[in-house]
Each structure stands twice: as C-alpha cells, then as structure tokens.
C-alpha cells in the first residue's frame, strides 16, 4: 500500500528524518510511534505531500507518490482546526470538494456521516458555536468523507472525551474492515495494542523498531513469569530454577512472585519445582507491553548516545 524508502529530511539546524524506510501493508492499522519531536509529523507531512523529502522515495500502491494520490489519502492533522466563522455544512462541502468530490456527492455523504455521529442538527451552525468535541467529530468526518484508501490520523484521540474516543475508535475499526488502510501516529500505547497490527518506532529521526505488534512483543519476551500461590510464604535457598525479581505478599495468604527463568529452564520446570511446596493459582508469562518496549527502546537509544 505504502512503501517508504530511505527518506531523509533536513531542516535548518536539525535533521527530522534520517534514512527512514517503512512498509505499510494494505488493510492494516499501522501505528507510527515515537516521543515528541521524533519526526513523526515530518514523515506524515511528507506522505501528504505537504513538504517534500530531501532524498528518498515513497510509493503508493506501487506508483511513485504524486498529486493524483492526494484524493486517495485522508489526513487528520494533530493540530486541528476549521474556519471559525464558516457554517459547518458549507465547510464540510468545501473541504470535500477540495478533495475532488462533487457538490451533490459531498452533501449526500456529509448527511450520512452527520447522522451517524449524531451531529445532523448542526448543519447551519458556525464552527465557533460548536463544542470542542463536535468540532473534532466534524473534522474526522472531513478526513474520511472522500472514502480514501489511506487514512492518516495524527494523534486522533487527543481532545476527545472517553465516550467520543470509543465512538471514533469504532469508526476507525469499521473503516478498516471496509478496506481502508489506516496509519496513525500516537504516543498513547494502550490504543496501539488495541488497534494496531503493525508499528514503527521513530526516535530522534531514526526508525529504531518496526514490525507486527505481536512479533515485536514476542521478541521482547525475556522468560519472565508471574506466579500466584496460596499458603505459607515460600523461602528460597537458591536451588530454584529461577531468579526472583519481585515478591509481593498479601494478608489473605495469596502471594505474587515475579520471576525470571534462566535460559535452560522452561515454565514446566517452575511448576515442577513449586507444586510440591505450595498451591499454585496462576502461572503466566509476562510479555512486555508496547509501552514498556517503547520506554526501553527510547531510553536505550538515549544512553547509547551518551
């Protein structure tokens, strides 16, 4: 769907993107992650052809990215806004027509979306008369109105209350089911695990990680397990097949252990060791969350720089 190859973007004084390459598969929800100032917005602007890269190429469905692709991309920028003094209906039509829709077609689709998001009564209201949440909804509608193949959302949930966040999340998933590829940038990791199939992590202009979310998390497994048992507190003499990372005792006799297994052992060895000693409620492998991976990778890079 989208193939980004060796993009370099240099601004006066700093480098926004150094040699970044990405592949966004058709039909996926792709998360572009990174701390503030990493270069996410620069990359998104380049994909939207708002700015051009210094070097590198982008292919859209196998074709070199050009002006004709603009109508097939929908873009919701992080910094959002609409003309304050303009009526919302007219404004939606205007934005849709800039994306190449006819007036009649735009009107039809806006009506559909406004009903879906329950803002149909606001057609003739000026933007400044709307609540922030409603403005955000309107802006989302403007992004997807022309049924783009690729939808680019920069921090889509910022500014939404929890209820509307769910509404928008559902809409994104539905659009994805209907065939749109979605690329979104965020630093809210819980939404990444919930929504994304694949991610790329950008830090300080470099891509430091990319791949399918599942694969990444699996590759970050480090033989850590969580154990819950009931009974007397266990004493360990060093003969156990694991190392204790954390021990948490509670009053009702059920205790938590976070342990790391050495290379030679498996979870079965843990069970074999523990079963004679106590009553096990739970044994669970700890797969690091995207959040932890994110923090780890970013910090790694930081200490590597120093």
């Amino acid at each position: 769907m989208l193939s980004i190859r060796n993009i370099v973007k240099q601004y006066a004084g700093h480098r926004a993107l150094s040699d970044v390459s990405l592949e966004v598969e058709k039909g996926t929800i792709f998360g572009l992650l990174g701390p503030n100032g990493a270069g996410k917005t620069s990359l998104i602007r380049i994909i939207n052809q708002i700015t051009a890269p210094d070097s590198g190429e982008i292919y859209f469905n196998g074709e070199k990215l050009n002006q004709s692709h603009i109508e097939r991309i929908g873009y919701l920028p992080e910094e959002r806004g609409l003309y304050k003094k303009m009526e919302i209906g007219e404004q939606m039509i205007y934005l849709a027509r800039l994306k190449g829709l006819s007036r009649a077609e735009a009107t039809k689709r806006i009506k559909y979306w406004f009903e879906k998001l329950e803002i149909q009564g606001w057609w003739n209201k000026k933007i400044e008369e709307l609540s922030k949440g409603m403005q955000q909804k309107a802006q989302f509608v403007a992004t997807v109105l022309h049924e783009p193949d690729l939808i680019i959302l920069d921090e889509p949930f910022s500014g939404f209350d929890p209820v509307n966040t769910e509404v928008i999340k559902d809409e994104i998933l539905e659009l994805n089911r209907k065939g749109s590829t979605i690329l979104f940038s965020t630093h809210r990791m819980e939404s990444v695990e919930e929504l994304c199939n694949s991610i790329a992590l950008i830090n300080k202009s470099h891509k430091i990680l990319d791949g399918r979310v599942k694969d990444i998390r699996n590759s970050y497994r480090n033989n850590t397990y969580l154990i819950e048992y009931t009974g007397y507190k266990l004493e360990f003499d060093g003969s156990q097949p694991f190392e204790i990372l954390k021990e948490q005792l509670s009053d009702d006799n059920s205790h938590m252990l976070k342990v790391q297994l050495s290379e030679a052992h498996s979870s079965n060895d843990v069970l074999q060791y523990l079963i004679p000693k106590t009553h096990i409620n739970m044994l669970q492998e700890v797969i690091p969350s995207m959040h932890e991976i994110f923090i780890e990778k970013v910090n790694q890079k930081r200490s590597g720089d120093e």
Binding site: Q49, I50, R80, R97, L98
Partner: protein, 453 residues
C-alpha cells in the same frame, strides 16, 4: 486549477456575505446621497440669498451719494428721511437694509447698517467693498489724481488658464486635476492597505485556526495563496463596481428630483444661477460634454472648477485606477500574505509590515506636497516606474496627463513587479504557514526563501 477556483469562490463568498461588506457598500452611496441633499439645500436656500434687496442709503458725508452701483440682487436708494422714520420703514419692508453713513465715516465702526433680518454676509461684503472703492477713489481725487487716470490705474485681473491641445485651446483643468489626483492617490492608498490587510488576516486566520494543514494536504500552498489573493481582489473590485453603479444611480435619481424641483421655481434667472450646482448633480451631462470647451462666459470660481471637471477624462482615469489597483494589489497582497504566514498573530506583524508599507506611505505623503505640484518632475517619473510606489504616484500624475511611453513603462514594471513579489512571497509562504510558535526573524525568512521544495 479547478481547486484554485474553489478557493477563490470560498474566499469571495465568505467576504461578500459579511455584514461589514454590505454596510460599506451601502454606506458610500448613502453618503453621496447625503452630500446631494446638502447641495440641494444650499441651492434652494440660495434663492433666499438671491432675493432682491433694497439698501436705503442715508449719506451725511455726501461722498457716496449716487456712487453705489446696483448689482443683481442689491438695489441702492438714497433716502433723506430722518433716522427714526427710516427705521420704522425698515420694520415694514423686512428684506430691506438701511445704511447710515455719518460725516466722519472714516472712523472705525462709524458706518452702520440696519436690517430686520440678520444681514447676510455677501451683502455686507458687497457694500463694504463698494464703500472702500468709493472712499479711496474719493481720497485720490482729493489728492489731485484725475478720475480718468484713476480708472486707468484700477485694473481688473482675472486669469483664465488655457491649455494648447490637439483640438485647439481648451480650458485647462489644473484645479480639477489637482482634486482628482489627490482623490485618486488617497483612494488607491487606502484600498491597497485595506485589501492587502484582508489577505494577511485571512492567512493568519488559517494559520491560527490550524485549518491550514488540512487544506495544504489537498492543495499546494501556492494555489491557496493565489486563490486567496484573487478572491479578496475580486471582493475589492466588486465593491468598487457596486459603488460606481449605486453612486451613479443615486446621482441620476437625485439629479432628476432636484433638477425638476429647481426648474419649477418661478425665477428663471435663478435657475440659470443654480446651474453650477446642477451640473455637479448630473454627471451624465458631465461626461457627455467632457471634452467640449465650456462657454466663454464669466464664471464664479466654483463654477470654473465644476466646468474644468468636465475636461477630465473619467473613463481614462478609471481604467488607470483599475489597472493600478489590480497590479498594486497583487504586488502588495502577496507580500502581506507572506507576512501573515510568518507570524502567529496579528500583533506580531508590525516589524514586517513597516518596511513593506514604507514606500507606499512615502509616496502617499509626497503626493500631497511635491508630486501634485510637480507631476512632470524626474522624481515623479522614477516614483511611477518603481512598482512599489507607482500606484500612488501614477494616480496623482494621470489627471495631469502622462506621456504614453511613461505609462507603458510603468505598467510593464507593475506586471514584472507583482510577478516578482508573488514568486518571493510564495517561497516564504509555503514554509511559514506550517511553522508554529517560533518568533520569526528576517534571517529565518531568508532561510525559508532558499528552502528546496
């Protein structure tokens, strides 16, 4: 291209639908209507002024006896009645005056004039002038100058400016050219500012409301800038166009009403007296007789001015105005757009606005003093060739007549000028609109200019 049209359409409609646009559009013809009303009032009231008055002269000095000349609306009559009796008579004839000249008339305030109504200024001035003449003549005769010599000494000078043209002699229109030149300079200066600032405000609005990023993901920054500039320019032209149409309509209607009114007045003489005013109220007549030399009759200064207005070729000046407004607007609004793109709020625009508007301001100030008095000077020539100063400078010069070759150079330079500023501005604009929260310096601007696409 289609998208630029869409942008133009939006920029245009949004502004034309604004209340302020409608108010401004109606305000100007409204003011013109009010002006006609005032002129009309003056004209009808001048009947009062022109009413025939009789001045009864009681001359105790004997110097003035019979020497007063009757004018159109003042008749002099000698009276020998006693002061009390004369004053009684005055009560019965309320339009009359009583002039009492004592023997020692040379003393300050010795001469008295009585009237029932407040005496009007022109009559007092007339009497005063005549008395001064007679008194000084009298003194000269007393000093031994004979009357024939006296008449030879007194000369009456009035200058009639004429200009040699291809059509022969024509009334020169110095006065009118002066007025039209100044008016043109003010009008073009204000319009360039007003519409240029509208473009700038539009750019800032898009930037601060952050809609800019959505729009530039659909169109190129240059298309947006161009669309905005053309859209706002079209608003300006619409406003001028409506002003001309409405003002003409108001003028025609006002002219019809007021002329009909004036003709139904009984005094035929007064109708012709009112003519200068009516010439003014009916510009169709003006333009129809624009190039015909006016009748060779003695004229009051005001009448002279109105007649010389006829010598101005309004069609030509209007075309020049439209050309210089358009090119000047394109030139300046591009720069205004660049300024708007470089800042985050209107308060920050000052440092960039000043150097841009300096040439315009400079020419504007100069136009009231130097340019209007020296429309053919070398400085005037250069100012009308430099695109930044040409719109104002040329509007001052055009009513005086500008050689065709100079006009051609100036117009060519205007086109080159606006193409150049648009190019420069678009390079700054494309970067500036996406830069937030940074205080912009000139160094920064020049960097933006050299950014690759």
């Amino acid at each position: 291209m289609n998208k630029v049209l869409l942008i133009i359409q939006r920029e245009y409609l949004v502004r034309v639908k604004k209340k302020s646009f409608i108010v401004m559009t109606l305000l100007v013809p409204g003011l013109i209507l009010v002006m006609y009303g005032i002129i009309y009032l003056i004209a009808t009231n001048s009947d009062e002024l022109n009413k025939e008055r009789t001045v009864r002269v009681k001359d105790d000095s004997g110097v003035f006896q019979g020497k007063f000349e009757d004018h159109k609306n003042i008749k002099f009559q000698t009276t020998t009645e006693g002061i009390t009796k004369a004053k009684d008579d005055l009560r019965k004839n309320e339009d009359d005056f009583l002039l009492i000249i004592p023997a020692n008339y040379e003393k300050k305030d010795a001469v008295k004039i009585f009237s029932k109504k407040k005496p009007n200024f022109t009559i007092i001035t007339d009497i005063n002038d005549q008395m001064s003449d007679i008194a000084s003549g009298n003194s000269m005769v007393k000093a031994g100058i004979d009357t024939a010599k006296l008449h030879a000494i007194k000369s009456d000078i009035s200058i009639d400016a004429r200009q040699i043209t291809d059509k022969g002699e024509e009334d020169s229109s110095i006065g009118a050219a002066y007025g039209v030149g100044i008016a043109g300079a003010i009008l073009i200066y204000l319009s360039l500012f007003i519409y240029g600032a509208q473009v700038m405000r539009g750019v800032i609005e898009e930037k601060t409301s952050r809609i800019i990023e959505v729009i530039v993901s659909s169109v190129k920054p240059f298309q947006l800038m161009l669309g905005k500039i053309i859209g706002v320019g079209a608003v300006g032209l619409t406003q001028f166009f409506l002003w001309i149409i409405l003002s003409t309509a108001v003028t025609v209607v006002a002219g019809k009403v007021f002329i009909k009114d004036a003709i139904t007045q009984p005094q035929k003489e007064q109708v012709s007296k009112n003519q200068p005013v009516q010439v003014h109220t009916s510009p169709q007549k003006d333009s129809a007789s624009a190039s015909t030399p006016s009748a060779d009759v003695p004229q009051s200064p005001a009448m002279g001015f109105f007649n010389s207005l006829k010598t101005i070729n309004f069609g030509y000046i209007l075309s020049c105005f439209v050309f210089y407004f358009l090119t000047g607007y394109l030139l300046y609004s591009a720069l205004f757009a660049a300024v708007g793109s470089a800042v985050d709020s209107e308060t920050e625009t000052q440092q960039f606005m000043f150097p841009i508007t300096l040439p315009l301001l400079f020419t504007y100030i100069l136009s009231f003093s130097f340019l209007i008095n020296n429309p053919d000077s070398t400085l005037a020539f250069w100012l009308s060739v430099i695109p930044f100063t040409a719109p104002v400078a040329m509007m001052v010069r055009v009513p005086f007549g500008v050689p065709a070759w100079q006009l051609a150079i100036s117009m060519f330079m205007m086109v080159v000028g606006f193409l150049f500023t648009t190019w420069v501005a678009s390079r700054i604009y494309r970067v500036g609109i996406l830069m937030y929260g940074k205080k912009t310096s000139y160094k920064e601007l020049s960097k933006w200019f050299f950014y690759k696409e």
